[in-house]
């Protein structure tokens, strides 16, 4: 392991993709860029699996009688959908794919701090994912992604143990990623890259990593205790045996509320990058956006009880959780206002990543505001466990987090692959996603308000019209997701070659070739200016 690496990096035709060939060179790689792509492959498979379950759910809900599947199959479908989408897709999505790939590039580092841990996290993730996927496919789980006790421990006859064990294991992949990111951000920044010059995506990754480190171990223990109760029939949470099921919910939501910020914070970081680049404007209120990420990560740990307003927690606790939930909306709102202000007087270019970013702002706003309806004690008694909640979190997780992920993929695709996709198709796909999404989920707000409960597949006839709208929207949405898969894969082979700085962006990641060499930079870059310095007209010309 001695040095004298020949500096092939000077040869522009050698990059991280063609530096080495063969399956082994991928499975044993320690290059953060390749590991990002490995994660991309894994989670794309799980996204398809979760999407398939969603398709079945929506088809079943076409008719009030739920003609497609039996009751217990329906329970297994929505559990599969939730577990796969949350634990196997959305949590790793932006951090493990995009963060892995661009974070070291953005701070001018040669790699993450602990490349071997990084590779280990991918393996751990896949091992856990295989347990979970096996449990979900071979027989299924019928508890919902929330694994509430005592149903999950004493009553359910499904594969709860191996499913929970899978989720338990994937948690360690998250923890390793979090440790790696924070250590990297602290210690490996290029000269001149001070904290107030850090790209906002890096701040978002930092905030997300805090939650990874402080939240994930708690869900690990929670699932472990739940598994012990199930395996040995001990009353850890079962009231019949002296346990308290409310404690399970406290522990579960102590992680799972912050986990929703694991899903949205990274997207918020992406949006800051895209909005500035495509409005050729400096970010409005840099320090507010950076600080609000950290604030969200921290306050997010104090609001979990808003999921338990009707579970029997004390009324005083509910009161405080309600108040704190209003507080947590403030930093999110700050971000929305700042992005909007950044657009003001910018020269906005509506390219594909920007279409996703603008979609994000609108949909996230609706999702966040409806969160406030739910945080209000009195209204939540009516709305809890109805489709209103389903619509709320899909507006945030799909309309927000997933749009951000797709925006990120489109924004950094030229960097990741060195190829360009078809811009027109990409824009059309983004619009299809936006339209399909709203058609799917807006009716669910109304359904929930009218009283349709979630997790039932039989409903009164008068709800059918709105359900048909929703299913129609889901089909459009499905097409919107399929399209990018096709043209992106196509572009890897046939797309035109991308320049180093395709969008004329100012981030460090655009200063190295596309795709970057294994060592990322020929020379460690030195940072001399603030981030998002989009004032120079030269930059604009480059793209025009």
């Amino acid at each position: 392991m001695t040095e004298t690496v020949v500096h092939e990096a000077h040869d522009a035709s050698v990059n991280y993709l063609n530096a080495d060939y063969g399956v082994r060179s991928w499975l044993f790689t320690k290059d953060h860029k390749r590991i990002g792509l490995l994660y991309l492959a894994s989670i794309t498979v799980f996204f398809a699996l979760g999407g398939l379950a969603a398709l079945m759910i929506r088809l079943d809900l076409l008719t009030p009688a739920g003609d497609l599947v039996r009751d217990d199959t329906y329970n297994k479908l929505f559990t599969m959908h939730g577990v796969v989408m949350i634990f196997l897709f959305l949590i790793p999505s932006i951090p493990a794919v995009i963060g892995n790939f661009v974070l070291p590039l953005m701070i001018g580092a040669r790699d993450l701090a602990f490349p071997r841990l990084n590779l280990a996290s991918w393996y751990i993730f896949n091992i856990g994912a295989l347990f979970a996927a096996w449990a979900l496919l071979a027989g299924g789980i019928d508890t919902g992604w929330t694994f509430y006790t005592p149903y999950s421990t004493m009553s359910s006859n499904s594969n709860v143990l191996s499913g929970a064990f899978g989720a338990f294991i994937t948690g360690f992949a998250s923890i390793l990623t979090g440790v790696n990111f924070i250590a990297t951000i602290h210690r490996m920044r290029a000269p001149g890259l001070t904290w107030n010059r850090l790209p906002l995506f890096v701040w978002a990754m930092y905030a997300t990593s805090i939650i990874f480190i402080l939240g994930t171990p708690v869900i690990a223990i929670t699932l472990l205790l739940m598994m012990i109760e199930r395996a040995f029939h001990i009353g850890l949470f079962d009231p019949a045996l002296g346990g308290d099921p409310i404690l399970f919910q406290h522990l579960f939501w102590f992680y799972s509320h912050p986990a929703v910020y694991i899903m949205i914070l990274p997207s918020m970081g992406v949006i800051s990058e895209i909005i500035t680049c495509f409005s050729r404007n400096r970010i409005f209120g840099y320090s507010f956006i950076a600080a609000s990420s950290i604030a969200i990560a921290l306050i997010g740990f104090l609001v979990w009880g808003h999921h338990m307003f009707v579970s029997g927690q004390s009324a005083n606790a509910s009161l405080i959780f309600s108040l704190l939930s209003f507080f947590v909306a403030i930093p999110s709102a700050i971000k929305v206002f700042n992005w909007t202000a950044t657009l003001y007087r910018g020269s906005v270019r509506l390219q594909a990543p920007m279409v996703y970013a603008l979609g994000f702002i609108g949909l996230f706003t609706i999702g966040g505001l409806t969160g406030l309806f739910l945080s209000t004690l009195a209204t939540d008694v009516h709305l809890h466990d109805t489709y209103f909640v389903v619509a709320h979190f899909h507006y945030i997780m799909v309309g927000g987090a997933l749009m951000g992920y797709l925006g990120a993929i489109h924004f950094w695709w030229p960097k990741m692959t060195g190829r360009l996709y078809n811009e027109t198709l990409a824009k059309i796909a983004a619009i299809i996603v936006f339209v399909g999404f709203n058609l799917t989920f807006f009716p669910q707000f109304v359904l929930g308000f009218l009283g349709m409960p979630r997790r039932y597949h039989v409903y009164p006839d008068e709800f059918q019209v709105l359900n048909v709208f929703s299913t129609a929207g889901a089909s459009i949405l499905g097409i919107g997701y399929l399209l990018p898969v096709l043209y992106l894969i196509w572009s890897m082979r046939y797309g035109p070659k991308a320049e180093a700085n395709h969008w004329g962006a100012v981030g460090l990641e655009w200063q190295t070739s596309s795709p970057p060499p294994t060592e990322n930079f020929d020379h460690t870059p030195v940072v001399t200016s603030e981030p998002y310095d989009y004032r120079e007209p030269v930059e604009v010309k480059k793209v025009a």
């Binding site: 790699d111 701090a113 979090g178 690990a220 001990i234 308290d244």
Partner: protein, 218 residues
């Protein structure tokens, strides 16, 4: 300044500019990992406290199922192992290979003694019918609460023991590496990081001991 900057570092990883940065980064990484561990054990501790406040009398009574002598003995053993670990790190910093290996082995032995005592305690519980679940035969007052206490006892000490086993495995690897002259006065961070981990695991026990063994004795 510390020694890492002075010596030659044969294991300098490519992503770092120099040994100093590498050392600083791995130290930070270890502390972050320990932060994660705090929350990991924190969640079981929270569960424990929740039920302790719900059933204080039953928990105090159930605490008497445990052997104070064995618990206290193990506490002393673990504190001793922390001490030998400190000596091992110290020896590593000074590049004295023999002393370093000797102290690492001593730490391992103490760790193994701890685990043997623990295993003895576990089997004893088994014979007394105090293992929660089907094997639980205690029928005194508050039996479900006693079972809850013992369940937490097994979960907490089991997780702790798992950490010990992993730690002993790492110590064994360090001994082998030290034998191959892997470490010197300029490069010893794996020993130091293992030390941090080991102390942390000991610290967890310092909390477990009173909560499990002592609450019932006045």
């Amino acid at each position: 300044m510390h020694d890492a900057a002075s010596g030659v570092v044969p294991y300098h990883a490519h992503q770092f500019d120099d040994a100093e940065q590498q050392y600083q980064t791995s130290t930070l990484g270890m502390w972050l990992f320990l932060g994660q561990e705090v929350l990991f054990f924190g969640a079981v501790f929270a569960t424990y406290f929740y039920y302790f406040f719900l059933y204080p009398d039953a928990f105090e009574a159930a605490s008497n199922h445990l052997s104070l002598t064995l618990g206290a003995f193990n506490t002393v053993v673990l504190i001793g192992s922390s001490l030998t670990m400190v000596f091992a790190v110290h020896a590593a910093q000074h590049g004295t290979k023999r002393a370093q290996m000797a102290w690492l082995v001593a730490t391992m032995i103490l760790g193994i003694v701890f685990l043997c005592v623990k295993a003895y305690e576990y089997t004893h519980k088994f014979h007394e019918g105090l293992v929660p679940g089907e094997l639980f035969t205690y029928h005194g007052p508050d039996a479900p609460q006693h079972q809850l206490f013992l369940c937490l006892y097994f979960a907490m000490t089991g997780l702790h023991a798992l950490h010990m086993i992993i730690g002993i495995g790492i110590l064994a690897a360090l001994v082998l590496l030290a034998n191959r002259d892997w470490f010197n006065a300029g490069y010893y961070s794996p020993v130091e990081m293992t030390g941090l981990y080991w102390h942390f695991v000991d610290l967890v026990w310092i909390f477990l001991f009173p909560l499990l063994y002592l609450i019932g004795r006045h």
